[in-house]
Symmetry: C2
Subunit: 471 residues, 2 copies
């Protein structure tokens, strides 16, 4: 393998044969080929050796690059050395496929070693029967704490939280606390603050670790704890929780149940994933793509995209019916058929611009009283100004193309009309959908383009019919 390497064009100085990532920061094909050879030959020790230095997110990447049989082989050959938290780093479809191929007892052993948030992420998508079988193979304490997390609604803070945390009473000193932590064996893997609670686990304050390290041993905890509390309800949606992190620049936050007891913590790394997913979801919904992964099968992809295309077909047929009203007009002046898509297309694009700005502003909670009024006013004026600019441009182009100033005037009037409508619907449709608690990212696009198409064709053909006396 290493002799092949020197002929590889992507070879970079300083890159050794067998390096995990190549110069473009992708998993090196050579590295992957070697792993595949070890997997094929069932050489467990070599597999363990090449996988050992990888971070779990890299292990996740490797799993995504392998095919099904190789993935199963990798997990089984690694045995107890396989860290199941890598499964939180792969697409849902790959995770489910892998879980199905592995015996539940093996999964239970892997899950028992995980932090509670990772364990929940792995278990939550399983069928209930499998979930129960795995849970029943876990030690009581872990089982109960996972069950409690799984009882919270999907995508809630309670589902995402880690149930291990450090809680201490307010009357301790810094020294007592440090001694306590030095003596504990089962502290959480990583933590950034300590919770100060009363006997009923109500949070009295929080203590960032850096503050502990700045304080003298004799200092009482309650004297230095942060009492300006930011907490999250376990039943709260994870997106709300993520927004709290963003707003207050948090790294960790306590999660409380309905009676105000501290039941877990959320950390920023989980929230970064939520923020990324949320933005990704908005982008895809705006384009009519649902909850889709790159690794979805062809059939799943078709199934997820067809509904949106059906809606669009209905809209397109509707638009075509509107054009049909003007069949006789077009028949008398075929240039109209040639020019009409221009007005519709410009309206569609201008509408999409305004709509996108509005959908994002709604998603980021940036619209309120005075800002909302300001945005509506601005977008209508922008629609008018753009309408005038493009009316003049297309008017001149049409006049020159057909040597007919009147046709230029007609298309210019239709353009202004449609651009103003585009600006107005681009903002009002997402706002209306939001008012009725529909996700504006899902449905706005089809409404906006249907309206700008209908108005574009209707205005152009209608004005032309009136102007040239074709009705």
């Amino acid at each position: 393998m290493s002799s092949d390497f020197e002929t590889e064009p992507g070879n970079q100085p300083g890159m050794e044969a067998g390096a995990f990532r190549d110069a473009d920061d992708r998993i090196s094909p050579l590295w992957l080929e070697r792993l595949r050879a070890f997997l094929g030959a069932r050489r467990a020790e070599d597999v363990a050796l090449v996988m050992e230095p990888l971070h779990i997110s890299d292990v996740g990447d490797v799993l995504e690059y392998l095919d099904h049989d190789e993935r199963v082989a990798l997990v089984r050959l690694l045995g107890d050395q396989f860290d199941y938290s890598a499964l939180t780093e792969v697409d849902e479809s790959i995770r489910l496929e892998l879980m199905e191929a592995l015996p539940n007892a093996e999964i239970a052993r892997g899950v028992a070693a995980l932090d509670s948030d990772d364990a929940v992420a792995i278990l939550e998508d399983l069928e209930e029967a499998d979930q129960n079988e795995i849970l029943s193979a876990l030690p009581t304490f872990e089982r109960l704490s996972l069950k409690r997390s799984l009882d919270f609604p999907e995508d809630s803070a309670g589902r995402r939280m880690q149930t291990d945390f450090i809680a201490i009473p307010p009357f301790w000193t810094v020294g007592q606390m440090i001694d306590y932590m030095r003596s504990q064996r089962d502290l959480p893997d990583e933590f950034y603050q300590i919770y100060v609670v009363d006997a009923g686990y109500t949070v009295l304050g929080t203590l960032p670790l850096d503050r502990v390290l700045r304080s003298q041993r004799a200092t009482r905890i309650e004297a230095i704890m942060n009492t300006n509390l930011v907490l999250v309800d376990a039943s709260e949606d994870q997106e709300e929780a993520a927004r709290t992190f963003e707003r207050y620049d948090l790294v960790e936050v306590g999660v409380v149940d309905e009676s105000g007891r501290l039941v877990g913590v959320l950390t920023i790394d989980d929230m970064v994933d939520v923020i990324t997913e949320e933005a990704d979801e908005d982008i895809k919904l705006l384009a009519g793509v649902g909850d889709e992964d790159l690794s979805d099968t062809t059939v799943d992809t078709v199934r997820s995209r067809v509904p949106w295309l059906v809606v669009n077909l209905v809209a397109a047929v509707l638009v075509s019916l509107v054009i049909g009203l003007f069949g006789a007009t077009i028949d008398q002046m075929v240039e109209l058929a040639v020019l009409m898509p221009i007005v519709a297309s410009m309206g569609g694009n201008a509408g999409a611009q305004t709509m996108t700005v509005t959908v994002r502003a709604i998603a980021m909670r940036e619209l309120e009283g005075s800002r909302l009024k300001r945005l509506i006013r601005r977008e209508m004026i922008v629609g008018f100004i753009n309408g005038v600019i493009f009316a003049i441009l297309i008017g001149i182009v049409t006049w020159l193309r057909y040597s007919d100033p009147q046709l230029g005037i007609v298309i210019a009037l239709a353009m202004i009309t449609n651009m103003i409508v585009a600006g107005t619907t681009g903002i009002l449709i997402p706002l209306t959908l939001n008012k009725f608690k529909a996700d504006p990212a899902i449905a706005s696009a089809v409404f906006v383009t249907t309206i700008t198409d209908v108005v574009g064709f209707f205005a152009f053909l209608g004005i032309a019919g009136l102007w040239f006396g074709l009705f």
Copy 2:
């Protein structure tokens, strides 16, 4: 004011008169009205009193809700109590407007109190003359460290980094380190790890704070430090740095200069902003909206959107020229003009779906050898299957509408053609743009819709002309 409150419909139990946020988590109109009254009456003490409990991100929100004169009044009335880091939480246009209205000497006083990353964020957009005047009013150490950050390219890790950090030698013990930290007055505001460096400031290891708290005082630092180093180059793009945070679930990372010396640190809160901005940018670029803020003026908005609309106009005229080739065909059969937008529109939507999935996969670095080939194959098959489904649907609809099975067959054939083209261009265009180092989010949409429009009209009118012998 509090008597008004009881009549307010949004009133929630537990919400006190004068609460900052209402039940919808927006700034309470009553609260804002009161602040405005204080600002108008120049009641500095009352202003300070209502602003005092707010987190800086809330102060940023308040600034965005006020109008220009009120903003200036707020900053000046608060004087030294105004925390300039709130300016990092507002839109760029508001920040610049405010900085212009304030004397440079006052800004310098405010900036001097900030962490270096916040100071850079505030200074970087100013004109060079103002920047230099403010810098020259700062103490030497702050001035030099800010200058160094500002010398790094825009949007680089060096610009975003915080230059305060804790670096200790490897031969210290945990006890020595804790004593050192307890004795220091000017530690960074918040920190999550400690850097272990040699005399030349080359990083030897890192030490998360939780690991310090688990260790006995006599333990030597080098025995517990983390030597599996993840560092970021100061010249690296902030988006690359953000990806490193995401990949390795980091909270803080060291930034090194070209000679490998530790020069600063990046923390996760800055990276969350980068991640959010990046996704937001992609969404907007896909819709032809540039680097735009909600608070931009009408003129700026028009200026940012017109170029995209001009490109679209050129594309639309091109499409119209293609239709023009078939003027005589349409003239003989006006139904073609009525039906033709359906084929183009369906292709445009299917193309947008594939394109969006591809653009996001490129942005998230998810495409490589085998996955890429898989995606191309999948999208082409999806295009074919959707083509067949919608060919049958529109064929039947057209047949019924015009009682003409032949017209149904023609539109069905055009639909299959255009859906396959849509799937193919939807994936190949972003990939090609990416290959030529263009941002696929910017330009893909106009290419894809132009191609699906041209192919849609050309295929439908061309097949119809051949089928019905209209040429």
